[in-house]
């Protein structure tokens, strides 16, 4: 990468104006993708717009309605260490903690991580399953994008070149809900060969009334596993057969990646296995909130035969 210029604006508007003005300008957040880009000398960057001095882009704050707002320039290290995150969404903290190493997490930012639409991004699966909102600010003002609309392809997002990802809002956890993230680590990069996040919510009766499952690492880009969700929804939480069937459909229609360490076929297999594990655990966790009169013993799940 060749860089012609550098700027560190002190307001979001100034940053957006620079991005609009200079064709080929790129945002510098933590630099963990940008700075380690293979030294592609053909890729010219007219201007690096460093967001470090832009106020209001960092921090993890709980809103009056219980929503958690996380600024885009918040580092993965801050998310991993946040008590607030740990309390409300342990899976989010856990996914942040497995990303890279401590040095990387101290630099890498939430926004940079998502805006680069990295196909290995652990956090992306959790965020897709959580159903967060993103605040994106551009020349034409702010707009809100849902989690599953942000990333639209391999290293592709819906963001325009004069737009900046400002923050992410995670809705407050509801009763009888849970999210679990399961991953299989790549031996070389230590990112996910396959990571699956499953988020579920149960009715008082134990019926699944909300289910969002997402995969990262295995396929071309982080994405929701809608066929799985459809099978699970409206079913009873402890129906193992359903969980197994749903897992079996995991990855239908997806294009799986392949490298020297894991073939597409193996990644597809892992997607199914991890979907089943994440779903089972999430259902089990959510069920702990169910009142005793409706309670189904957890052992039924733990001892159930695995059918893949």
């Amino acid at each position: 990468m060749k860089v012609r210029g550098y700027s560190s604006p002190t307001s979001l508007n100034e940053a957006i104006a620079l991005l609009a003005k200079y064709q080929g300008a790129r945002i510098l957040a933590g630099g963990q993708d940008l700075l380690v880009e293979p030294s592609r000398r053909d890729r010219k960057t007219s201007l690096l717009v460093d967001l470090r001095r832009v106020p209001g882009l960092t921090g993890i704050n709980e809103q009056p309605d219980g929503t958690l707002r996380i600024g885009a320039m918040t580092t993965l290290g801050q998310i991993a260490a946040s008590d607030l995150v740990q309390m409300k969404y342990p899976a989010l903290g856990a996914a942040a903690r497995v990303m890279g190493d401590a040095q990387l997490r101290n630099r890498a930012t939430l926004g940079g991580h998502l805006a680069s639409a990295d196909p290995d991004a652990d956090l992306a699966a959790v965020i897709l399953a959580l159903g967060t909102d993103f605040e994106i600010v551009g020349s034409r003002g702010p707009r809100t994008v849902l989690a599953d609309q942000l990333i639209v392809g391999p290293r592709q997002t819906v963001m325009k070149r004069d737009e900046v990802l400002a923050s992410m809002s995670v809705p407050a956890p509801l009763p009888r809900s849970a999210i679990v993230y399961e991953r299989f680590r790549h031996p070389a990069t230590l990112y996910a060969i396959c990571g699956v996040a499953a988020s579920v919510r149960l009715a008082k009766t134990g019926r699944v009334i909300d289910c969002q499952v997402a995969v990262t690492g295995a396929s071309e880009y982080p994405t929701r596993l809608r066929s799985v969700e459809e099978i699970i929804l409206e079913k009873q939480w402890d129906a193992d057969v359903v969980t197994a069937a749903a897992s079996h459909s995991a990855g239908e229609g997806l294009v799986f990646r392949s490298d020297l360490f894991a073939s597409a076929e193996y990644r597809q297999h892992l997607t199914r296995v991890l979907t089943e594990r994440a779903l089972k655990q999430a259902l089990k966790n959510a069920a702990t909130d169910i009142q005793p009169e409706n309670y189904q013993p957890i052992e039924q799940i733990a001892n159930a035969a695995v059918q893949v």
Partner: protein, 792 residues
């Protein structure tokens, strides 16, 4: 000083400067007027070089000069190989001095592997040098490619060198083939297995780096480079490659960020940078990149073994026969033929007394990066072979693999034990180490644990890796008989100053092992002086005696012995002078607690400092005694030493994903007498990591065009701390007879036990599925596929 320093786990004296980040590595060295070099590598595995055009590149900003092969061809000879397999016909690339030749620093008319150096750009800055490299145009004419020894040796395969018919460097054999074949024929059980050991990349944290300077007024060259063998480099460069006087070349080694055998060579950069510095009249600096490291730094392992083990149903092994095929790369590394011939071949009986062993290896040239040793060199490949076959044999006859091992291990009363392939094992108690490791791992109760694991969806397996790995290189006459054109003795100088301070000078070359600490401990113990008084000087050919550097677990037992002996000799002189000063006879004094004391009256004594001071003043010395308290010694060991041990791994395999979790890892190692147990323990940790990698994840992959697909941390996996198992270490102590300290090698000796322990455990976990063998690396996907096949 009555406390025991030798053998104490004292903290490493080297560490503060590393931990503070003060230590200077080659890339940290900057000289006035320094220029920077970038290299153009071949991206073809085998091709004629029709044209190399530097016209555009040489006009680019900051470019001082660009060198291609023909610019330097008259200014230096090809590199050399100093290991010519003994007693057999061998063929190498040519060299004008008649020694085995290797590659030229820059290719002239032909490239033979992806990565071969084609051009060197000298520029004002590193960035300018790399920019210009991308502007050099090369016109190749493709030639056929071979990337394995088997392919290279096939009739009609493309020929790499005119001087090497059939691409065969040498065919080396050890043992009696006819007797072995006959023993196999007469045995009740015969196990045959092909084992493929892939190549392994070196990935030290510091890449190779070299700075060169030439002084026109004195005609002297200075080299700063991170080599494990500075004196060897000085000798080979001056005498065989550049043809300059030995004493006009100085080699300085800044701190080294890891070697593991990757830096124990003469590489093209060292010589080329000297020539470039002279030609451009300014110092030049070259620091490799991570990706390019894999393209020219030696690869290791890479064997294709056809193994046959025979035995009887009583558990006794009768014979072992191995045919091995090894690709040395396109050109030989400076010691390239050594590991796959001697280190694997003579070691392949492992810890067992096998009546009829035979080993042969075909060493071939192919279109790959040159092959050299890595930690556990040659012996890992040997131990993997024997330990896998012993397990298969045990399985075949339905006997506990631990019991088969016990029945065949060399027994304590058999030492010194000649293994039939050329080694004479010095000392050991192999069965004691195995039994202790099994006891620690709870081997007896493994059945219930297997059943418990199955309930959790895991397959549990237990595996053993017993090893005997040669250390202490070495006895020079013996190395000469093996084909090494060189020597392997040790040297040391100890100087006790009039102030009581001590200077120890070693020719050994530290690259992370803690030489300074351990050598200080030897001297502090022998002279009875505080460790703080002792400085250890190394890494500069000016002022440091010739020695061999550090490799092959030789430093403590060989270079350390030279220091030990120097301390003894120094004490002898101190006793003589001390007795004189105390006005008693020499027989009436002893050396204790840093003093020379009268035996009859310990109060009557002179400190070492007082004696050194007397020798400095030289006003009153016994007749015939020269001033000064300084000793130079050399140590040429009679034989090698043979550390040994047993490792036990317990693994759990996820039945759904094939993921392997090493849940217990037990090591019982024996490296004889140790100088610093904490340092030895650290080495053993490193050995486990270095064995875990090839067992589970590491492998070099070439495609059919000879392009290297594994070259960085995205494409090549090395174990990180978070992937390491928790390990439990114990040691037994069996001194060697081959040096006065009783010390054996430790640096890389237990690495060979790791891979077989883990793979045996995996095969054990899968044994009820009929799995007999899995080639390394045993990846989760490979296991998953194996389990799938069985289910179908």
């Amino acid at each position: 000083m009555a406390t025991q320093v030798f053998g104490a786990p004292i903290k490493r004296r080297e560490d503060p400067s590393f931990l503070r980040g003060d230590a200077k590595f080659t890339a940290d060295v900057n000289l006035p007027g320094m220029t920077h070099v970038a290299i153009l590598h071949s991206n073809r595995a085998h091709a004629k070089l029709k044209k190399v055009s530097t016209t555009v590149a040489s006009q680019m900003p900051g470019v001082i000069r660009i060198f291609i092969g023909k610019d330097i061809a008259e200014k230096m000879n090809p590199l050399v190989c100093v290991w010519k397999p003994a007693g057999v016909e061998s063929h190498f690339p040519p060299h004008p001095y008649g020694v085995p030749g290797a590659q030229t620093a820059l290719a002239t008319d032909r490239v033979r592997y992806v990565g071969e150096w084609i051009a060197a750009v000298v520029a004002e800055t590193r960035r300018q040098a790399y920019d210009a490299v991308s502007a050099i145009e090369v016109d190749y004419e493709a030639l056929p490619v071979v990337t394995t020894a088997e392919e290279a040796l096939k009739e009609g395969a493309c020929q790499l060198h005119d001087t090497v018919p059939g691409n065969l460097c040498a065919h080396v054999t050890y043992g009696d083939k006819a007797a072995t074949d006959e023993a196999i024929r007469l045995s009740e059980v015969v196990i045959r297995q092909k084992l493929r050991i892939p190549r392994q990349l070196h990935q030290p944290i510091e890449t190779r780096a070299t700075i060169a300077q030439y002084d026109t007024t004195s005609d002297e060259y200075t080299l700063w480079t991170n080599t494990q063998i500075p004196h060897g480099n000085r000798f080979l460069i001056s005498s065989l490659v550049l043809g300059i006087p030995y004493n006009k070349l100085r080699v300085i080694v800044p701190h080294i960020g890891g070697g593991f055998g990757s830096k124990g060579y003469l590489y093209q950069d060292a010589v080329l940078m000297l020539v470039l510095a002279r030609e451009v009249g300014r110092p030049v600096k070259w620091v490799d990149t991570r990706k390019n490291l894999a393209l020219t730094t030696v690869h290791a392992r890479g064997q294709s073994q056809d193994a046959t083990l025979a035995g009887n149903r009583d558990g006794k092994i009768t014979a072992l026969s191995v045919s091995n095929y090894v690709d040395l790369g396109a050109y030989p590394a400076v010691n390239g033929p050594g590991a796959p011939s001697v280190l694997t071949g003579r070691s392949v009986t492992g810890a067992y007394a096998i009546p009829h062993p035979f080993y042969e290896v075909y060493l071939a040239f192919a279109n790959t990066v040159m092959l050299g040793p890595a930690r556990g060199a040659g012996r890992m490949e040997a131990m993997f072979l024997i330990e896998r076959l012993v397990d298969m044999f045990a399985c075949e006859i339905g006997m506990d693999p631990a019991e088969v091992r016990r029945r065949n291990m060399v027994r304590p009363e058999q030492f010194p034990y000649p293994n039939g392939l050329g080694w004479t094992y010095d000392s050991g108690n192999y069965q004691a180490a195995l039994d202790r490791a099994l006891q620690m791992a709870g081997y007896e109760n493994i059945g219930p644990r297997k059943r418990e694991a199955r309930q959790r969806g895991k397959r549990l397996g237990v595996g053993m890796g017993c090893y005997v790995t040669i250390g202490g290189v070495g006895p020079s006459p013996r190395m000469g008989r093996e084909g090494l054109i060189g020597s392997t003795w040790a040297s040391a100088i100890i100087r006790l100053h009039q102030t009581g301070d001590v200077t120890v000078i070693t020719g050994s070359q530290p690259h992370g092992q803690g030489h300074v600490t351990t050598f200080s401990q030897i001297v502090a113990q022998e002279l009875g002086l505080p460790i703080e008084k002792i400085e250890v000087i190394h890494s500069d050919s000016h002022g440091v005696p010739y020695a061999q550097g550090s490799y092959g677990s030789r430093t403590f037992s060989v270079e350390g012995t030279a220091i030990y002996q120097a301390a003894q000799a120094l004490k002898q002189k101190a006793l003589k002078v001390g007795a004189h000063l105390l006005q008693v006879k020499e027989e009436e004094v002893i050396c204790a607690d840093g003093k020379v004391q009268a035996k009859a009256d310990p109060q009557k004594s002179k400190t070492m400092q007082e004696i050194a001071s007397a020798l400095w003043f030289a006003w009153d010395l016994p007749s015939g005694v020269e001033p000064g308290l300084e000793v130079t010694t050399y140590f040429n060991p009679e034989d090698f030493n043979f550390p040994f041990g047993s490792h036990v791994a317990i693994v759990e395999i996820d039945e759904q994903t094939g993921h392997v979790d090493v849940v217990r890892y037990v090591c019982v190692d024996d490296v004889g007498v140790v100088g610093n147990p904490m340092i030895v323990e650290g080495q053993m940790h490193g050995n486990v990591g270095f064995g875990l990698g090839p067992a589970l994840m590491e492998q070099v992959i070439y495609n059919e065009q000879g392009e290297l697909l594994t070259y960085d941390f995205r494409t090549y996996a090395v174990p990180r701390p978070s992937q390491m198992p928790a390990y439990e270490l114990e040691r037994t102590v069996t001194p060697t007879r081959t040096n006065p300290m009783g010390a054996k090698g430790a640096g890389d000796v237990s690495q060979p036990g790791v891979c077989p322990a883990i793979v045996n455990a995996i095969c054990n976990a899968l044994s009820d599925l009929g799995v007999r063998h899995m080639d390394i690396p045993v990846t989760p996907e490979k296991i998953w596929r194996t389990m799938q096949e069985v289910h179908q």
